[in-house]
Symmetry: C2
Subunit: 340 residues, 2 copies
């Protein structure tokens, strides 16, 4: 149960520690004879290099840290998968930490991690990411994911939430909707803010002067249900709803169904994210597909670049555009003109 050291291996193979080290690391000039003896001794003793010692002298950990606001749902497993796959290719290990709702916890986690990683991937969509920035000048490269980017870190990757929202609204309008409502995400969430901005901008462009109906949710199915009920009880209920994420959209569908209305004919619905569930609800949900796996991969690549370039500070920003996926929940013939 007690790990054997390189010293033990060297002794067993009757060579110096240096030679043993050279064999273990592969790359150097050693006799075939020595190489063989060391390898045999190492496997006989179940030698595993002590990573702490190695990192101490090389000042490289071959590890990157990933900080998430939470680990809940398929979104996060996908992003972890993307990062993990990319990391394996680079020979990097992945240190994961979730549930950093409040700033204090997030800062503590960053501090705890920064001593043991070569770089940090941080996802912190809550608006106080500036405070987070203030809490650190960090000694390791940092890349933010889907966060407000205020000059913090060596790079950033995010989803074009604004553009996605525009596309959704335009789509609903094109399908004939005239009174389009929006179910927002949490006010302090950066991505939610961007989606709201996209909605507002496009509405102002397409229906100048018209008042906009919006309700706030917290990204849960339940809150989507509540928000939709509220919208339906208005004097002029919407004929199209853009919902800030799919989970809330599922709740909204339920509310509409309960009200005895038809989707998409009475109310067309569009979500955001394209979670797997979206295909299976009835009717299947139109949404904006985000390549979360790709997002993760690219985030890691960005970080690796930042690590290699040390601090040449050429801060790259990547924006990923979501893709509109039209399903039954918003498929209808344009018959507005006739009806209105």
């Amino acid at each position: 149960m007690k790990g054997s050291t390189l010293r033990d291996v060297a002794r067993a193979a009757e060579v110096s520690i240096a030679s043993a080290s050279r064999v273990i690391n592969g790359i150097d000039s050693v006799t075939e004879d020595v190489r063989e003896r060391v390898l045999k001794a190492a496997s006989a003793l179940h030698y595993v290099p002590h990573w702490g010692a190695r990192s101490l002298v090389k000042s490289r950990t071959n590890t990157v840290g990933l900080l998430l606001p939470d680990i809940y749902g398929e979104f996060f497993s996908e992003i972890i998968r993307g990062i993990d796959d990319a990391a394996r290719i680079c020979g990097l290990h992945l240190l994961v930490s979730g549930s950093h709702g409040d700033l204090a916890e997030a800062t503590a986690a960053m501090y705890a991690m920064s001593g043991r990683v070569d770089g940090l991937l941080v996802m912190s969509p809550s608006a106080d990411s500036e405070d987070l920035a203030a809490a650190l000048p960090l000694s390791v490269p940092l890349v933010t994911i889907g966060s407000r980017i205020e000059g913090i870190g060596q790079g950033a990757i995010r989803i074009d939430n604004f553009g996605g929202a525009c596309a959704a609204v335009r789509h609903l309008a094109a399908t004939g909707c005239r009174r389009i409502a929006f179910i927002r995400g949490p006010a302090e969430n950066f991505e939610a803010q961007e989606r709201l901005r996209g909605f507002s901008a496009t509405m102002a462009e397409l229906f100048p002067g018209a008042e906009m109906q919006t309700r706030e949710g917290d990204f849960t199915e339940h809150s989507g249900y509540g928000a939709m009920r509220a919208l339906l009880s208005c004097t002029a209920p919407p004929d199209g709803v853009f919902v800030a994420n799919d989970m809330m959209a599922v709740g909204a569908l339920l509310a509409i169904k309960e009200a005895g209305l038809n989707v998409p004919d009475d109310v067309a619905v569009t979500g955001f994210d394209d979670i797997p569930l979206a295909r299976f609800v009835s009717p299947p949900l139109s949404t904006l597909r985000v390549g979360v796996y790709e997002l993760g991969r690219q985030a890691l690549d960005l970080l690796v670049n930042a690590i290699e370039r040390e601090n040449e500070s050429e801060k790259t920003d990547i924006v990923i555009s979501p893709e509109l996926v039209v399903r039954e929940s918003s498929k209808r013939e344009i018959r507005r003109t006739a009806e209105t």
Copy 2:
């Protein structure tokens, strides 16, 4: 960008390295004056302890490794969440690695990890986990999750797949099904084997002598669809189907619907796992709920115990029982007697 060392801090605070170390680690006798000076210096220099050095001298990493066969879908995000939450409480960091389909990769990953963690959590449901066991006497405690347990490791936690399968079959029988078929998981998967065993045993008990209809799938929706079509085209199609996981069950539902049959009246369906999707398909799917989050938490607790007890080798096994959740896909009045 270059981390400052304890030496720097000590110099800045005009104390010895030893004193600085004492302050940083909190617990020791130091003057309030010294403590203050060191703390100020540390924060001024953005000092972060070098974890490698620390682990070198303490021979403790405060990190546990998690090896997964894959990271795909909500099951894995839940298990990671459970482990991560439990780890945070214990002050442990979590090193995650997925995608270890084949033995070679899994072994390599274990080797790479074992030098940098205090313990290992391994999930390897493929049957060759014995080979895995052969590949290691490892220098760190190891706990297996949902794997065949052949005396490997310091502990094990698994789901009662056998019992769950029994419950599912009994439920279908109780609801009036007489010809119950089974859609299996991959033959080499240990959990799938157990579910098959539960099915066979219960069928033999309830319907002695009857022949059993089973089809193999690979846990994907698509394979479930195919398997169900095959079953329906038999001369005596089943009136109840137990499907080895929910994803395949979703595919099966589709196949039944396409065949113009009704669920649950013509064919009752039960899945396994209770993935979130199960509630939303139509009709909502009966299934066996597995507390994946809890599974993760308990797995970590087990590992922590193993780490603390060094090698007192009291190998604990925990078995988690799934809970039957009855939804519309198997709700029907018992009217078999009248019909047959």
